[in-house]
Structure formats: C-alpha cells, structure tokens
C-alpha cells in the first residue's frame, strides 16, 4: 500500500527524485573515497616516510569532504522538497475525495477518522519519505559502493564483504520481519486499551451505578496483558538488533585482519588496505543501522498509507450526473415517487413506499417517532443520500440528473444539529449567497428572531458556533437558510431548541418570507406543524397517514397518539 501510494504520488516529481538519487550517490561515493585515500596515506606516505605526500593527500581528503557536504545539501534540498510536495498532493487528493463523498461515506468513516487520515496520517507518510530521501537512501548506495571500492582495493579480501553484507541483510530482514507484525499488533492493542479506558472514564457513573468495577477491572487487565505481551516481544527483538548487527561487523573486522595478514605477507595486498577495509566495514554498519531505523518506521507509515488508500479507493455513493440537467422545469416543485432507502445488508429498510408531492406555497410537515426515518427522508432531497429505489424530483427533475450547483441553489436545509463555521455572523449568513446585502441579512435575522441577540454582523463566531447558545445557533442557522432564498426550504427539527413563544413568533414571521416557496418541516411538537397544508405521519419507515391536522385527528390512530402524548385528551379536542 505504502509503495503504491508513494509511486502514484511521486510520479510528477521524477526529475527532483533523479537529482536526489544522483546527489546521494555522489555524496556516498565521496564518503567512501576517504578511507581509500587514507589507505593511500599509509601505503605511500607512512610506509615510505613521505611527509609531503601525507599532507597533499590530506588536502585532497578535505576537498572530497567539501564535495560531499555540497552533494548532501543538494540531496536534502530536493529530498525535502519532493517529500513535502508529495504530502501536499496526498492531502489535496484526500480533501477532494472527501468533498465528493455523500453523507453516507462520511458517516461510515466517521468525521474524526477522516480528519485524522487527512492530517496525521499524511504527516506520517510524508515523514517517512523525508527520512528516506534525505538520509536513508544513502544506505543501500553505501552498501553497494563499499563493496565496489573494497573490490578495487583487493579482490580476494572483498569476497569477505560479499559474505558480510548479505549476512547483515538477512539478519536485519529476519528481525524486521518478525518485528513488523508485532508493531502493527501493538498499535491495535494500544488503541483497544485506550478505548477501554475512554469508556471507563466517560461511563464512570454508569459503571458505578451498575456495580461493574470488577468486570471492568478484568476487562482492562486483559487489554493490559495483551499490550504487555506484544510490547515485550517487540522490545526484545529491538534489544537484539543492535548487538547482533554490531557483532557481525566486529567479527568481520577480525576476519579482515586474519585474511588480510596472509595477503600482505604473501605480497598480494598493501598495508593501508587493512585500515580502509575496517573503515568500510564501519560505514556498512552505519548504513545498516540507518536502514533498520527506517524499517522500524515503515509499519506505522504503512498503516497510515492503508488508511489513506482506503479513503482514496472509496467512491461516493452519490454519483454526480454525467450529463447534468442545468434547468429546473417546475420551480419549487418537489416530488418523491415510491422512494425506498435501506443500508446495504440491513434486514429492514429505513424508509419504504414514500410518495408525496409538494408545491410552492405549501407547507408539508413530517412527524413520527425517533428512528422513523424523518431525517433520512429529508436528506434525500438535497441528495445527501440517494434513494435505493424510486425517484426524488426537485423542480420536476430527478435529483440524480440535476446539476449539483443548480440543486444547491434551489434547496436549503436547516439541520438538526446546527453547525456554524468560524468567521463572523455575516460570513455565516452569507454562506449560501455571498453577495447578499446587509439589509437582507438583517431581514433574515428579524424573521429568525435572532435580532435580539445580534448587535453587530461582524461579531466573531468560533468553530462550530460554540460561542453562542444552542438556541441562538439554531436561529442563526435558520437565518442562513433564509438569506439563501431557495425555492425549497427543509427544516429538520429546527425549532426544538426554542421556547414555545419564540417558536410561534418565528413561524409567524416565516410565513411571509416563504409564501412562494415550498417548505418541508420535520418536527416533534404538534403545535409547530398544526397549520401545515399537509402532514405526513411516518411510522417505522412507512407513511402511516397524510392529510391536514383535522383529517388526521379524525382518521389516523398513530397521529392521534402523537398528539395525545403531548396534550391531554381534553386539551386536544
């Protein structure tokens, strides 16, 4: 997954990548050339007593060092640039993808999870790439380069390296192979122990009330033991890594001296090559340590990459039309034809056989129990969901064929949980229509009964609207929809946080503004919807009755029950 993600998103930066590769190669080459020169100092300077040679070669070594830092800096520059560009591009792809999602996909992943995936997960992947390009990439080059240069010094002795390097590779691979699943498991178990704790803290009253301390303790202990087991396993492997790699290198230096001694004695090798060889071994060791460090980072980044890929591979269930209809046929006209909605795999549908028509100037109310499908029904109209069967028509056009922008212009929703964006009151009110005049804003605030608490349109609003009360938030959300001036208004239980007097005043004021519009109201209070032109009673996902208050009171048992639950018989009569 990680590789696939990296490959896809690195493609546009092939040029930069090439520069990184070349620079890293030169940098590593320079690093390896130093021991070679050192051998030269010994063989031609020290042994022959040539001090001048020692100095000049020392100067060359300094020059090589300078070349190395230059190449390394270039590698870091383009490496950082590439990795950050990759992060930027993945973030953008994720953001665009989530934007295309319908409410269902967002619900499936959960908003916090999507946020984590777009922010933290990308960060992790990006970090890994930075490390790889700026530091780790030199490890394999170093390994190969050391072997090549060692060959240059002495072919026979180099056969040692040909053994050592693969041995190291095998040891590291084996350890990392065993570690990786442990690391992944560790993450899972840490998550689960944290979940247990989170539940125990948020549910402390319930746990104490139901006297569940002991079972909860056991549950935690079990989770804790599981964390311990994995942590111990991975800790042991990590503790083994360093001594193991170190020993291979150390024992190799012993072998280098033994075989080197023979080669020198028989005149097949110079003395300086010994020192060079030992240095190469050290460099190979460092390279291996670096790559193991990176290999340890991979599992986490891999999990992140998987989660990123999961989002990128998810297609929206609300597919935008290929050939969008740009024109509304009958403005304000709303029709649901035999609509059914069910979650995939669910035993029973959430909504079934929903059939009704609403025209401009009419108020349609939807009432029913918790879980009867009221909100789902409403969400079908702005196409937050798509009906499983049947059709939803706005302005006489199936919403599935309608241009999303045209649909947005024609429908406004006031959601159950009003959400405001950070900014000012004005910026929030103008959300649906950026060019609305101040006068229009004030007018909307008037109707929404919000003028009393709004002194200044530029009053700042914090993220989510947390700096105003629930009732105020709801009224601002209503005003926002009013500024939008759509043909169809959808109110999803939007008056529940208001007291009865405000509710009544608001609805009275609303009537004038929405005279020519189609209004659909989901409500709990009978008083809110009593005067509606059409009341739809939803029960268990089906329409149990349709009509005016008077008609339903006379004929519909479910409706009567709802009304009576709020008023005594005498009061309702």
């Amino acid at each position: 997954m990680l590789l696939k993600l990296a490959r896809t998103f690195l493609r546009p930066y092939r040029k930069w990548l090439a520069i990184v590769f070349v620079a890293q190669f030169l940098q590593t080459l320079a690093a390896l050339y130093l021991p070679w020169l050192n051998a030269d100092i010994i063989d031609n300077g020290v042994v022959k007593g040539n001090t001048h040679y020692i100095f000049t070669t020392g100067g060359v070594m300094l020059a090589i060092s300078l070349a190395q830092i230059t190449a390394a800096t270039i590698a870091v520059y383009f490496g950082a640039k590439t990795a950050m560009a990759l992060g930027r591009d993945i973030r953008k792809a994720l953001f665009d993808r989530v934007q295309s999602f319908s409410t269902r996909e967002v619900g499936r992943f959960g908003t916090p999870s999507l946020i984590t995936r777009t922010t933290n997960d990308v960060q992790q992947v990006q970090m890994l790439i930075v490390m790889t390009l700026t530091m780790m990439l030199s490890a394999p080059i170093m390994g190969v380069g050391a072997v090549i240069l060692a060959l240059n010094q002495n072919v026979t002795l180099s056969s040692l390296l040909l053994i050592i390097v693969p041995v190291l590779g095998v040891i590291v691979t084996l350890l990392v192979r065993r570690m990786r699943p442990l690391f992944k498991l560790m993450q899972v178990r840490i998550d689960s122990i944290n979940r247990v704790l989170r539940e125990q803290i948020t549910g402390i009253r319930v746990i104490r009330a139901f006297v569940r301390d002991e079972p909860e303790r056991t549950r935690f202990q079990q989770a804790n033991s599981e964390v311990y087991d994995v942590a111990l396993g991975s800790g042991r492997l990590m503790g083994l890594m360093f001594p193991a790699v170190m020993s291979v290198v150390n024992l190799s230096s012993v072998a280098v001296l033994w075989f080197g001694g023979h080669l020198i004695n028989s005149g097949h090798m110079q003395v300086g090559a010994l020192t060079a060889f030992l240095s190469y071994l050290m460099q190979v060791l460092m390279a291996v340590m670096m790559s193991t460090f990176m290999l340890m980072m991979i599992p986490r980044a891999e999990v992140c990459a998987e989660r990123i890929q999961e989002v990128l591979n998810t297609d929206t269930s609300v597919v935008p039309p290929l050939v969008p209809v740009k024109e509304i046929r009958k403005s304000g006209h709303l029709e649901l034809r035999n609509v059914e909605f069910r979650y995939p795999g669910a035993e029973e549908p959430v909504l079934t056989c929903v059939d009704f028509t609403a025209k401009p100037g009419e108020v349609t109310a939807i009432i029913g129990s918790t879980g009867a499908g009221k909100t789902t029904l409403l969400n079908l109209i702005p196409r937050l969901f798509d009906a499983t069967t049947g059709e939803v028509l706005v302005g006489g056009v199936n919403v599935a064929n309608l241009d999303p922008d045209v649909l947005a212009k024609n429908v406004a929703i006031v959601p159950q949980k009003p959400y405001l964006f950070s900014g000012t009151i004005a910026s929030n009110l103008r959300y649906g229509r950026p060019d609305a005049t101040e006068e229009e804003l004030w007018q909307a605030l008037d109707i929404a009964q919000a003028r009393s608490f709004v002194e200044d349109l530029d009053t700042p609003i914090s993220q989510g609207g947390t700096n105003v009360s629930g009732g105020q938030r709801q009224r601002l959300a209503i005003a926002r929809a009013l500024v939008h001036k759509p043909d169809i208004y959808l109110f999803d239980d939007s008056f529940s946080a208001l007291d009865y007097a405000t509710d009544a005043a608001l609805r009275a004021a609303l009537t004038s503004q929405t005279r020519d519009a189609t209004v659909v109201i989901v409500a709990q209070r009978v008083s809110t919807i009593r005067n509606a032109d059409r009341i739809i009673v939803l029960d268990n996902g089906c329409i149990a009755g349709q009509g005016t208050h008077g008609e339903l009171m006379a004929t519909n048992e479910t409706y009567r029950e709802i009304v009576l639950s709020q008023l005594t018989e005498r009061e309702a009569a």
Partner: protein
Amino acid sequence: MTGGNSMSSSNGEKPAANGEKPVATRAAGPAPTQRAAGPASWMNGPSMERPKDFKGSLRRTLSLLRPERPLVIISAICATGSVAASVWGPKILGSATNIIFSGFISKSLPANTSKQATVEYLRTHGKGTQADLIGSLQLNPGHGVDFNALGRTLGIVALIYLVALVLGAAQGRMTARIVQRAMFRLRQRAQEKLARLPLSYFDGLPRGEVLSRVTNDIDNLAQNMQQTLSQLVLSVLTIVGVLAFMLWISWLLALIALVTVPVSITIARVVAKKSKPQFVKQWSTTGKLNGHIEEMYTGHTLVKVFGRQHEAAETFNEHNDTLFNASFRAQFIAGIMQPAMMFIGNINYVLVAVVGGLRVASGALSLGDVQAFIQYSRQFSQPLNQVASMANMLQSGVASAERVFALLDAPEQEPDAADAITPSAIDGRVAFEHVSFRYKPDVPLIDDLSLAVEPGQTVAIVGPTGAGKTTLVNLLMRFYEVTGGRITVDGIDIREMTREGLRAKTGMVLQDAWLFGGTIKENIAYGSLGASDERIIAAARATHVDHFVRTLPDGYDTVLEDEGANVSAGEKQLITIARAFLAEPAILILDEATSSVDTRTEVLIQRAMRKLRQGRTSFIIAHRLSTIRDADLILVMEHGAIVEQGTHDSLVDAGGAYQRLYAAQFAQAVAEVV
C-alpha cells in the same frame, strides 16, 4: 526531525486532539478548570513542555523499576561488561595490525641483518623518517608475519566480541522486560486508581484531560523508557570508555577529536536556532490547514447543500500551498544538520589520518593504534548525538510521568466503613433528612432538604437548570456524599451501607447515553450479566429498541463504535433504558432519560416504564412536564430547595411555580392546537 510530533500522534485512528467526544460538564457540577483541551491543541505544535520538578519526577519514575531491582542490577552489569568488551576490541585489533605491519616490514629486510643495522643504514642514507618508523617496531628481519601471534590476538578479540554480543543481547532482553513490566503495573495502578477516585475528580477536570493522562501520557512514557533507559546508559558508558582508550593511545589525537565536540554542538545550536522560526511557521500553518479540514469535514453536509465545494477547495489549496512552502523550508534547514555533522566527522577523520600518519611515520605511534583511533573517533560522535536526542526524549517522558503521578496522588474517596452492610433486599423507602450539600465549600447548593418517599412511589423532580435536581441523584447514589443531614433507605443511613450494595439495588438512566464499544446485545445486558437472549429481546421490545435494531445490518450483534453513525442519540438513549429495564432494580432513577426521544415514543416507553415502576421507587427528573403528569409526587426545585410539592392537579390548582412552568410549556401549545 520535527520535534515531538511523531511521538504524540501514535494513537492510530484518533489523535489526542479529537480523540474524545466532547462531553458537556454536568450543569450542577463544579466548573471545570480552564485548561485548553480540544481540537485546538495541535495549533500549539509540538509540545516543548518541561517537567516542573525534573529531578524528583525522574527519581520517582526510576522508582517504578524498584520491584525489578535484581534484574536492573544484572542488566546494568551486563551493559557495563558489554560496552567494556566492545570498546576494548579495536585496541586489540590495533595490536593485530601492528603484528601484520611488523611482519610486512620484516619481510622487506634482508634476513641476516639486525634491526639496529637497518636503522643506521637508513639514517645514513638520509631516510630519517623511515628509520624512526622502523626503530619503533619489533622486527624479525627476513621473516614474515608471525601468524601464531596474530591468531592468538585475533582469537582473543573474537572472544571479547562474542562476550559483548551475549551480554548486550541479554541486557536488551532484560531491559525490555523491566520496562514493560513497570509499564504494565503503572497502567494497572492508574486504572485501579480511577475506580477509587471520587466523582468530583472527574467532574472537576475536562474528561479529555483524565483520559489523556492514562492513555497518551503512559504511552509516551512507555515508549521513551524503552528507548532511553538502555540507550542512555549504553551511550554514556561508551563515551567514557572510548574517551579513555583515545587518551591512552594518544593525547594529541584525543585533543583533536575533542575539539570537534564543541564545534558540533555549536552547529547544532545554530541549526536549531535557524530552523525554529521555520518550524513555528510550519506548525501554525498546519494548525490553520487542519482547522479548515476539520471544519469542512464536520460541516460536510452544509458545504454540499449550500454548494460551497469550490470555495472550500480554494481555501484548502491556499493553506496547503503555504504549508508546503513552510514545511519544505523547515525540513531543509533541519535536514542540513546530518550532512553538517558528517562533515565535521570527516574533518576529524582527515586530521586523525594526517596527524596519525605523521606520528606513525616518525615512530611515535604504531599503525595499529591509529587504526584503532579512527574506529574510536567514529564510535565517539554517534553516542554523543544520541545522548543529545535522548535528553529531549527523557524530558518529555518525565513530563508525562509527572502528570500520571499527579493522577496517582489525587485524594481518593472515603472507603466503605469496615462494618458497612450490604442489604440483601430492600423495600425502597427513601428519606432525605435535613440534607445539605455543596460542591464548593463556600457555595451552598442544597440546604436543609427533607423528603420522604414510600416504597413503590414515583417521584418527579422538576425545576430550572442548576436547581439541584441531578445533585439529588448524585447524593442518593453516593456519587457525592452529603455535607449535612442524612439519606436513608429503608431506615438505614446509606453511609452505613457499602456503595456497591446500595448501587446494586438501584437502576439509573442518564441524559447522556453511555454505551460501550460492544454489541447492542451486550450493552443491554450490561447491568445483568448472563441474561438470556429472550429476556434481552423482551426488554428491547418493551422499550421500543427492537424495531430500529432490526434495521441495522447486524441486528443485535451490531457493534457500537465511538461514532455510532447508524444509531441516533434518541436510539442510544432507548438502549440505556432497555438496560435499566433488564436490570430490574428496587429503586429506579431516570435523569432526563427520554430527552432525546420523541414524545410519542416517550409515551410508549412510559407505558412500559409504568409496568416497570410497579413495586419500585422511582425518581424521574424531566424537562417535559407531559412525561410526569401521573407521578405520585412532584417536587419543584429552585436554588437547591424544594419550593413546592404535590400531585399534578393539586399543583396546577395551587397556581404557584409549577403552574407557571406548566403554562409556559402548554398554554401556547393548547392555544394553537385547539
């Protein structure tokens, strides 16, 4: 390379920033202390926090290892042995090189000359340097390398390295065990502590805060302990050992190597200083971008419905590009550190090679020693850098430990009296006798409240927010203890009962529905372990849970996740009601239990509840007066006192506070409906 970020974000799915659902602090509870916990925490960037009392907390952190003392001592011995062995190795390897070198030179000399003669010959022929070199060697002219001596020396080195390996591996293994055991115990202690803390502790802190201490902080500590503990010891030992050997070989070369240390430190400082503003900028733009992402995702529906995708994407792109520029610069500057350090290392290497070469040539130093020195100087700089980064990790670990200790030190609730009784069966006669209570010592909340409830009666409590309704429940459940007077159940002071005994007889449904991450079935059976499926489903039917459960993909086996996208707030509340229903307690408490349920369902539940309430004493706290009309006794509370009590009809007739509340809720409704 970005400071603390990679560490703090290890919690997989949810970062600390938005990991927990915001939980409203209970209205009647004390105000939470002001400490920013929430989505904004990432705006501050990597936490560069320092512990308040580093020494004390470090000592206490180390004391966590005390139960493992024997293992700690053995592991310390192993560490010392392992380091000593691996530091000693290069020096002996150096003598092996000397043997080879001597053999090499010896061979080049005629067999029948003495070393003395050769040196003099060279000197007279003007090759003074070479004469010095040979003069310092042990030569056996004409003979080659002494392979016996070489084999012996190399055998010793190999043995030493093997010892280092065994000791090192043993040490690593033991450290893992020591640290993980200590962390296991610490987690367990923290969890057990939670069970003993009074509820006031949880109500007084933001929930995320407590959670973060037992999760993020312990995680962070565990990770840092595992990495720093052995690494720090090993690094320090290595530095000391290497330095000693370097000085032994040549003080001049050692001096050269040491000079590079302050140079490295200076470079590190300069880079850190230069990169800091870049990192600050990176973090502030990250904050902005993440804020925007969070907002657009949370308001996803609105963005869609109002057709604002284009604008959302535009703002996103703007922030995203700024972040790219800032983070690229930060990474670049920080990334230069590595090559710079390498450069210093190489200069050091060159100097050692040149100066060492000159010294060998003049016979002041053996070739093997120079070779050992080069190995040492490479070994030297690495642990130095490590110690520097360990210091940061240690600091962050100790800061975490400090917060965990603060939790462990928090005062606990009074334990049950030794002679406390656990009632086997109770009738449910509840009496409040001159009860007073205050959350904060100087703010009286309930003052001299008396109340008597007969078994099987239903008592409704109404009144404005902050009147003390929930407090009554807290006191009855002994979540909080009365500060004056007493509460009795069946005539027994509840303080003379065990908390568990009292609570086992009481069922409770709260306003914020708490469900744990199990199946719906398990959640319903939470208070009644081992209840049969039939009973569970019967309870679900009675409380109207059954229908919506069947619309879910997995029915009763649907696992409730944190987000619970398919289960609405009202449905969650129904599940908690089913849970209390199944538990069949003697005393039932419903605290705004049906506030998220529609009125008709509420009526249906009430019918079921009425059955449930028969023979049980029930307390109902409700906002909607429609739900409590048939209560035996209605208490109207204001400012911690009962201002009115009676039945619905008598209170309406009395024309007092209840009548006003009732009018506010109903008059309007009646006027419109009729």
